[in-house]
């Protein structure tokens, strides 16, 4: 991997997000709107729901949508012949995938920051220190890897960016309903336990509720998210390289 290439591709990816209204909305404005809407809807104590309990789920919720943007973005550049053109340069797949992973990690951290800052006025008060906050941000950055991987898998099996958008919901919906802030019943817990978003939400909830950062619950969640996310992104890269790059 060459730093100059990775940085140039990273810059290109971030410019694309800023200049493409659809991407900008899904990546940055959607988490903001979501937090504000949920903040108004659920911050009233009379409802008997605590926004503190809901906020960690919102962090994961925002990152899950990276699946759709990655799937769209890869299908787009393939459709426009850009992937082929990039492949005629000395750029390696490591340079390219490295820049994709980095740009999406940066976006994930920005999303968490937006949700965090907007949740504060609605009464969100995490019982943790700066170390806890940094760990929460790191967790979401690692969790975003699984979204990049699932986005790549979606792009591999999609023939166009339109199909990619639709197919990405195969991975988005289960994680949204069973792994974030929607209450889990005994019957849905089994499904939730197979989803990385469940562990991300669980870990962040523990961190923000003031648990020790070295508690077994957080460490197990952290290990699970890391292993699963890295595995999914590797599978995504390999599948896309073999079948999606045509």
């Amino acid at each position: 991997m060459k730093k100059q290439r990775v940085l140039a591709l990273l810059k290109m990816e971030l410019i694309k997000v800023i200049r493409e209204p659809a991407f900008l909305f899904i990546m940055l404005l959607f988490p903001a709107v979501l937090t504000i809407v949920f903040g108004f809807a659920f911050s009233d104590p009379a409802l008997g729901m605590s926004f503190n309990a809901m906020a960690p789920g919102l962090f994961a919720y925002a990152c899950i949508f990276i699946i759709m943007t990655v799937a769209q973005s890869f299908s787009d550049i393939r459709e426009q012949g850009l992937l082929k053109r990039l492949n005629t340069t000395p750029m390696t797949s490591g340079d390219f995938m490295g820049s994709q992973v980095l740009s999406n990690m940066i976006i994930a951290i920005l999303q968490v920051l937006i949700v965090f800052l907007l949740a504060l006025p609605f009464g969100f008060s995490p019982s943790t220190n700066i170390g806890g906050l940094l760990l929460a941000f790191l967790l979401m950055a690692i969790f975003s890897l699984s979204s990049v991987g699932l986005g790549l898998i979606t792009a591999t099996i999609s023939k166009s960016s339109g199909t990619a958008t639709g197919l990405s919901f195969i991975f988005i919906l289960p994680q949204m309903f069973f792994g974030t802030f929607i209450p889990i019943t005994d019957s849905t817990r089994l499904i939730a336990l197979t989803l990385p978003s469940y562990y991300a939400t669980d870990a962040i909830s523990s961190i923000f509720s003031g648990a020790s950062l070295l508690s077994s619950n957080i460490l197990i969640d952290f290990a699970f998210i890391s292993i699963v996310s890295i595995t999914i992104v590797i599978i995504g890269i390999l599948l896309f390289k073999k079948y999606g790059n045509k």
Binding site: Q4, L9, I15, G81, R85, N87, T88
Partner: protein, 293 residues
């Protein structure tokens, strides 16, 4: 003698030779670092019995897109690769630049084998694909800089060459605008500049002027002609036979994946007793249609 012949042809075809000479002086080479400097071989491209068959649908034969072609392109040569639509031109280019794996046969690009030495080949080629492939959300300048960086060019060199190339192709004024708002002709010019930013030794131009208006097309042809004068090897496909006749040192005519003939435009015109290269093209490819080959 040949250069005089070329000048006469160019003048007949209204391509401005003086302009070409002037452009030549404006294109200063990019002094590449030691690790990406390559020796210039006498033969730039050596195609050896290259084949590409695509698997046919169930019950149908394989499609022979390229069927055992062999030829050589000399260093510094402007080589025209002509043929009707679907003749196998783009498939051949895609094999030479590593986007398609040949079914059989091989090719050497500056003595590097397309099966084994693709990373080396990618360092020394510039590719201008048939359809403009640029990032639409990025400006013209940003697109060019991206590809310069992918070739690990120093920042100041990217700036210098970007400025020169944008000025030559009259794209400087639009260079800060998003490529999304470019006209078809402007996108094609940007497409060409991206292929040239790293000052490649060998250029693959796949129908670079298709869809351009006559004024921009002529300017682009003059520019391509000037590249030949600074000793670039250019592998060009085009449907503008008249311009290929004026600019190319040699042309190969291909149809149904087979190489039908190869030679200088002058030699081919004499051989087929035709008035121009277009006549030769029609005689060769038309005969195949008439004879049902």
């Amino acid at each position: 003698m040949f250069y005089n012949f070329l000048r006469v042809k160019l003048n007949n075809n209204k391509i401005n030779v003086k302009k070409m000479d002037e452009l030549k002086t404006r294109i200063k080479p990019y002094e590449k670092p030691e690790n990406i400097r390559y020796p210039n071989n006498e033969i730039s491209i050596d195609v050896r019995d290259l084949k590409k068959y695509f698997r046919g649908k169930k019950g149908y034969d394989d499609v022979k897109a390229v069927d055992g072609i062999s030829f050589q392109v000399k260093s510094g040569e402007l080589f025209g690769f002509l043929g009707p639509n679907g003749a196998g031109k783009t498939t051949t280019i895609q094999m030479l630049i590593g986007l398609l794996k040949p079914t059989d046969g091989t090719a050497l690009v500056n003595s590097y084998d397309i099966h084994e030495d693709l990373p080396n080949i990618k360092e020394l080629i510039g590719v201008c694909p048939q359809e403009p492939a640029v990032f639409k959300q990025l400006s013209g300048k940003e697109n060019i800089a991206l590809f310069g960086n992918l070739h690990l060019m120093p920042k100041d060199e990217i700036k210098r060459r970007t400025k020169t190339l944008l000025n030559i192709l009259d794209l400087a004024r639009a260079s800060k605008r998003k490529a999304k708002g470019y006209s078809g002709g402007m996108l094609r010019q940007l497409n060409l500049i991206i292929a040239l930013i790293h000052d490649p030794m060998i250029l693959f131009l796949d129908e670079p002027t298709i869809g351009m208006d006559p004024r921009v097309r002529r300017k682009t042809w003059e520019f391509i002609g000037s590249l030949k004068q600074v000793n670039k090897t250019i592998f060009l496909t085009t449907h503008y036979i008249e311009e290929a006749e004026a600019l190319c040192d040699r042309v190969a005519i291909i149809d149904y994946g087979e190489l039908l003939d190869i030679g200088s435009p002058k030699a081919l015109i004499e051989k087929y007793q035709s008035n121009n290269l277009e006549g030769v093209f029609m005689k060769i490819t038309g005969r195949r249609i008439m004879e049902g080959i």
